[in-house]
């Protein structure tokens, strides 16, 4: 379980997170929704160690993550698929997957997991030798997710996986996220597509200008009047 308590983060004099607390229970899909600039990405980036926190705590199965180096945090079983996919464009699909397993030493396990990722994303197997930069947006997103899975995470964090993708492709990505979760990986998802995210989430938090203003199950927030107005573009 990931437990964040009273986390403050600021950069360049701007307070990005003003004391948020949230929990990601094992085996669940948890989503963080909110407008652009609310601090969603900052939250994920602070968990991975890319951004230094001001104060507060992030505990992963009881162990404090703040102050740890990024590679230690990843070895502890946390992976992230970054916003904008960020695949290594001039490496092949297969190389991208291998680099996802950079910290692992179990060769046989890595080969097994490549096959596992290919079974989740058959399209990637077809394009195994293609350079990642030549893939379509949806395929690149699949690769970014697959690459993150290659570290065998117990917590998978996804930053805007639906960004810029066609609706049908978004459906695909979301069904894969559910599948990954069914196979035992805890998911922390941040999305601007609140509708889709809330539908698959067990637990959801609303983030507004660095504060958590609402939380509940996905279904509860989907039904909530304020959420519907602010994030789902629906009245009544």
């Amino acid at each position: 379980m990931l437990k964040i308590e009273n986390l403050h983060v600021s950069y360049g004099g701007i307070q990005a997170l003003r004391g948020i607390s949230l929990e990601v229970p094992d085996g669940k899909i948890v989503t963080l929704i909110g407008a652009n600039g609310a601090g969603k990405s900052t939250t994920l980036r602070t968990i991975t160690g890319l951004v230094k926190a001001g104060s507060g705590s992030i505990r992963w199965n009881g162990e404090e993550l703040l102050g740890k180096s990024i590679d230690k945090i990843i070895s502890a079983g946390i992976a992230m698929s970054p916003e904008g996919r960020r695949v290594f464009a001039d490496m092949s699909v297969l190389e991208n997957l291998r680099i996802g397993a950079y910290l692992r030493k179990d060769k046989a396990g890595i080969e097994e997991d490549i096959q596992w990722v290919y079974s989740l994303f058959p399209r990637l197997e077809e394009r195994s030798w293609q350079l990642a930069g030549t893939l379509s947006g949806g395929e690149q997103q699949m690769l970014a997710v697959g690459r993150a899975l290659m570290s065998r995470p117990r917590l998978m964090m996804l930053d805007e996986p639906s960004l810029g993708l066609a609706p049908l492709v978004v459906q695909d990505i979301f069904s894969i996220i559910r599948e990954i979760n069914r196979q035992g990986v805890t998911v922390l998802l941040i999305e601007q597509n609140a509708n889709m995210a809330l539908k698959i989430a067990d637990l959801a938090y609303v983030l507004e200008t660095g504060n958590i203003t609402m939380s509940g199950t996905g279904a509860e927030l989907l039904a909530n009047e304020k959420v519907r107005e602010a994030y789902l573009g629906k009245n009544g």
Partner: protein
């Protein structure tokens, strides 16, 4: 005819020596987007280390062991120097604007030159003769030093090994990833500082090997001995497309051969003018060089 062959031979040899320096510029630029202005001076220090080490070791080792031990120690110490420069002068500035790091590099360059002036008292130091490569052979009827022949072969071997390292090893994969995207590379668990250190170690190693070859041909070392070869190698790296290893090698051979041809003509004094005019022409006409990345980046 013989004159032409001898000019070509010395051009190829010079080009190979520049190539070994140019790779250091291009590797560091590829990862840090930094022109490491101290690199040429590291090359000079490698030469001086050899001078001082052989004279020191001459007193404690049997004569036959002095040169090999000196070579080994000079290379190791140069690698350590490259590593220390990065840790002390560049790493603390990792999040500072790029201009600050560049100024720091210029500072390191002057520091090394002035330390060398202090150590040598400003007097030229004679590079020791390295047995095997200092002797003379006859190629196509032209007498030349063995080093002239050894250089291009050694460059090919080292570049092949480096390419292998970069394309087929884990550390190479980490270097390629870090060169493209620092942050995502870190998300894969790559320790960026270790990769950067590895880059400086490789660059300094190649510069040290280059210094052995270069100073065997031009055995007089002064504190500014690294400055011009460094600048020419830098032009070679830009010409080939900075960030590209094949580019640096091809660029270096072109610069080396051109320099040798011009020095062999009646336009001799214009050889550096030609090299730097070439730099201006490339930057104006094709800033990405022969093999450079398509993304333009302010140098």
């Amino acid at each position: 005819m013989q004159y032409a062959i001898s000019i070509l031979l010395s051009g190829i040899s010079l080009g190979g020596q520049y190539a070994l320096i140019a790779i250091g510029y291009t590797l560091v630029y590829g990862i840090l987007r930094l022109i490491n202005f101290a690199h040429g001076d590291v090359f000079m220090v490698a030469g001086l280390l050899m001078v001082y080490l052989t004279s020191f070791l001459g007193g404690i080792l049997p004569p036959a062991a002095v040169i090999p031990a000196g070579l080994l120690l000079a290379v190791v110490l140069t690698v350590v120097l490259g590593f220390v420069i990065e840790r002390a002068a560049y790493k603390p500035l990792r999040t500072a604007p790029r201009m600050s790091v560049m100024i720091s590099a210029i500072g390191v360059s002057y520091l090394l030159q002035n330390l060398a002036t202090y150590a040598t008292g400003g007097l030229p130091q004679m590079y020791p003769e390295v047995p095997g490569i200092s002797s003379t052979v006859t190629i196509l009827g032209v007498p030349t030093k063995v080093v002239t022949v050894v250089t291009p072969i050694l460059v090919v071997v080292l570049v092949a090994a480096l390419t292998q390292l970069i394309n087929h090893t884990k550390v190479g994969m980490a270097m390629r990833a870090a060169a493209k995207d620092f942050e995502t590379a870190q998300l894969m668990g790559i320790r960026i500082n270790a990769v950067i250190s590895a880059t400086f170690v490789i660059g300094s190693f190649l510069a040290a090997v280059g210094s052995v070859l270069y100073f065997t041909n031009y055995p007089s070392i002064v504190p500014l001995s690294g400055s011009l070869p460094g600048l020419r190698a830098f032009v070679a790296a830009v010409f080939g497309g900075i960030g590209s290893i094949p580019g640096a090698v091809v660029g270096a051979f072109i610069i080396g051969i051109s320099e040798s041809v011009i020095k062999g003509s009646s336009w001799s004094i214009f050889s550096d003018a030609f090299t730097f005019a070439l730099l201006i022409v490339i930057l104006v006409a094709k800033p990405t060089g022969l093999f450079g990345e398509k993304v333009t980046d302010k140098v």
